[in-house]
């Protein structure tokens, strides 16, 4: 089932990353941007959820709607639907917005609540617009990397142009959605990637999401990034030795030589083995169910999560992509 060739992710223009909360979606997104920048690309990194944590991964303060260079070649921006609307009105309708956006923004909140895709279109629309401008030479992003909504919301987010087209019968917005759908559907331009970890819920959600995306969206899927893969400690033969070491006879010898710490060591190794084993079963399930390229990133035994870790993840991602 598994496609073995490394996918040419960095050759696309627009990469979305989704994933269940807690799997490291933002870290993988940031690492992808960093990897591309290290290879000479000019990258726009877009944070969609208003958490403002993405720039932490570069050890930089939060950013706003205007892109700020947070690493050589990586320009980060925080999505803001009101700013996006303001920009849209200015660029497309030549509407003088000053003094009027106040009530309009409030009304927009209401409309967005009721109507599918209004809020989402302002997010996806901005991202698509940057991609189109770059392709047509009016903006200079080689790559746009989006830390998109979590698995539960990403389909609604990417489906926004189509939902809007169904809903809005006339007006300029309807016309705008056409090119967005085309751009989002083009496998040479766009890829939606799913970040997961080898645990029960993330794997289930990934399998369900891949099915849903294929049924409901025309957005091409890129890769599944499996984050936090624990190392295999022992080969089968070594495992037999480990089991023998845990027997009373060998443990007694170890305790005599190593002191009380011997038991702690054996217990810690047993925990590592069984955690790995549980995760391996989930990985197998994922492999069997999803026929997309899988990229593996190791569990990192590190003190803290900052730029150093983002670099480590980027390095491993580069290896997995065959770069």
């Amino acid at each position: 089932m598994r496609t073995s060739a490394a996918p040419d992710l960095l050759g696309r223009r627009l990469l979305f990353f989704t994933g269940k909360g807690g799997v490291g979606k933002s870290t993988v997104t940031a690492a992808t941007a960093l990897l591309a920048a290290q290879r000479g690309q000019r990258v726009l990194l877009v944070e969609v959820d208003a958490k403002g944590n993405l720039t932490r991964l570069f050890e930089r303060p939060p950013v706003g709607f205007d892109p700020v260079e947070v690493f050589p070649g990586v320009f980060a921006m925080q999505m803001n639907t009101e700013a996006s609307l303001r920009e849209y009105l200015r660029l497309n309708l030549r509407v003088p917005v000053l003094g009027r956006l106040g009530p309009l923004a409030g009304a927009l909140d209401f409309v967005a609540t009721a109507a599918p895709g209004v809020k989402e279109i302002l997010t996806v629309g901005k991202v698509c617009w940057e991609a189109r401008e770059s392709i047509e030479g009016r903006a200079d992003w080689d790559l746009i990397v989006v830390d998109a909504a979590a698995t539960g919301h990403v389909v609604a987010q990417l489906d926004a142009p189509r939902a809007i087209r169904e809903l809005v019968q006339a007006g300029p917005i309807r016309g705008q959605t056409e090119w967005m759908v085309d751009l989002l559907s083009d496998p040479a331009v766009t890829a939606l990637n799913v970040v997961t970890s080898p645990e029960e819920m993330p794997v289930n959600e990934t399998i369900e999401l891949v099915e849903r995306v294929r049924q409901e969206l025309t957005v091409p899927l890129g890769a599944v990034v499996v984050n936090r893969v624990l190392p295999e400690l022992f080969t089968r033969d070594d495992q037999a030795v480990f089991d023998a070491l845990r027997g009373p006879e060998a443990t007694a010898v170890l305790e005599r030589i190593l002191g009380l710490g011997a038991v702690a060591l054996l217990d810690a190794a047993r925990l590592a083995v069984s955690l790995r084993r549980t995760r391996a079963a989930h990985l197998a399930e994922l492999r069997a169910a999803v026929d997309l390229p899988l990229l593996y990133l190791p569990y990192l035994f590190v003190r803290d999560h900052g730029l150093r870790v983002t670099r480590m993840v980027a390095d491993r991602l580069g290896e997995e992509l065959g770069l």
């Binding site: 609540t113 070491l245 069984s274 955690l275």
Partner: protein, 397 residues
């Protein structure tokens, strides 16, 4: 490390409160912790305990007898509990939240007549409001909680909260729903349609205003009219709805309700948990407990282990030789044995790094509720009643 002075009070929390709400960011093990707390309560005390889950893992749902969605509360049969080695003094029930049905029920309850109810239920805006409105899942979970509590059928209700972008969103949900349907803005937005009659033409003076001109230009007039029609129908439920939302909010503030915040000892979830603890207190909710889930065992921090690891790092070969001497049949190949010993030491070091990071984060916790419970990383998935019982023992240890 496990248990500690706070543990007795976790028991007290489950014994004295009528509602315990479990919250925290995604992936920290909220659902299993909530289910474990309910099982622990049903095990320790007499009475009826219900756990309401939002989106449990399939195997856990099966273990609780929740094969299908639907707002049906099911009792976990005693023989199932006994088979898992659990002797319950009370009765354990489980239910899974069905968002769509809960909304439909709400509309049917509050609409002035059946015709209006079905006009609302059939409107395509309705589907969008209830399924895509970020707060709607949160709201309906709290609404459902109120509903069940009002029946008086349970001594304790333990509820899991839906995954939200922000763990505190659901607290604002009742108020936001009330504001949403009662707001001036909504009135203003629907005004042209209101004046012109439900399906009537717009009045020129309204349509001439800049906002409507702009909205028309962007969205097209039909679109706004669709929305307005929906809200005009929805508005007929207004008073019942507001009363209800306020009652839900009162219940959450009531002293019979307490909150338990679940987190792992990782940077991002912990920051969110801390923020949540502060917000709960600031808003006058009762912060009952902080649950530190999936923590690594304390032995990874011990001096003894570190000393043993450094011996193996420098001298695995002679330890292996000695093992061969003592147990030649079990460990005949000292080269292989030495390799395994070095791997064991390296793995201990690796996990020690994480355990130390966890310990530091724990020490830095700015604000702690009186009750802090630690649950270790368990070796397998929590997929059955035995697994829940194991967590429960840590909760009450």
């Amino acid at each position: 490390m496990i248990g500690g002075p706070g543990a007795a009070r976790m028991e007290a929390l489950l014994a004295t409160r009528e509602i315990v709400v479990f919250c925290g960011s995604g992936g920290v093990g909220k659902t299993s912790t909530a289910a474990a707390a309910a099982l622990a309560a049903a095990t320790s005390f007499e009475g009826r305990v219900l756990v309401v889950t939002i989106d449990p893992a399939r195997r856990l749902a099966n273990a609780l007898g929740l094969e299908s969605f639907g707002n049906v509360e099911r009792r976990i049969p005693d023989d199932l509990l006994r088979a898992a080695g659990i002797r319950a003094r009370g009765e354990l029930y489980a239910a899974m939240l069905d968002t769509k049905r809960s909304w439909d029920d709400l509309v049917l309850r509050h609409a002035p007549n059946e015709e209006t109810a079905y006009r609302i239920l059939d409107n395509r805006m309705y589907h969008n409001v209830t399924s895509r409105f970020v707060q709607s899942h949160d709201y309906i979970a709290m609404e459902r909680l109120y509903d069940i509590h009002a029946t008086g059928s349970y001594d304790l209700i333990v509820i899991d909260t839906p995954p939200t972008r922000n763990a505190i969103d659901f607290l604002d949900a009742p108020k936001r729903m009330a504001d949403f349907f009662g707001g001036r803005l909504l009135r203003w937005l629907t005004m042209p349609y209101r004046i012109g009659g439900r399906r009537g033409a717009r009045l020129v003076n309204m349509a001439g205003r800049p906002f409507y001109q702009l909205a028309d230009r962007i969205l097209g007039g039909q679109f706004l009219q669709d929305i307005a029609e929906f809200f005009l129908n929805f508005e007929t439920m207004y008073s019942g709805f507001i009363e209800r939302a306020q009652a839900v909010e009162r219940l959450l503030h009531d002293r019979r309700t307490s909150f338990a915040v679940v987190t792992t000892l990782e940077g991002a979830p912990l920051r969110e948990a801390e923020f949540f603890c502060e917000e709960l207190t600031a808003r006058g909710y009762h912060l009952g407990a902080l649950v530190l889930n999936k923590t690594l065992p304390a032995m990874l921090l011990g001096e003894a282990g570190a000393r043993a690891a450094s011996v193996l790092e420098t001298d695995a070969d002679s330890v292996a030789a000695e093992l061969k001497g003592a147990a030649p049949e079990l460990l005949p190949d000292p080269v292989r044995t030495a390799r395994v010993l070095r791997t064991i030491a390296a793995s201990f070091r690796n996990f020690s790094v994480i355990a130390r990071r966890e310990a530091e984060l724990r020490a830095e916790l700015a604000r702690q509720p009186e009750v802090v419970v630690t649950i270790p990383e368990l070796e397998g998935d929590i997929t059955d009643l035995e697994g829940l019982a194991a967590i429960g023992r840590y909760l009450l240890a």
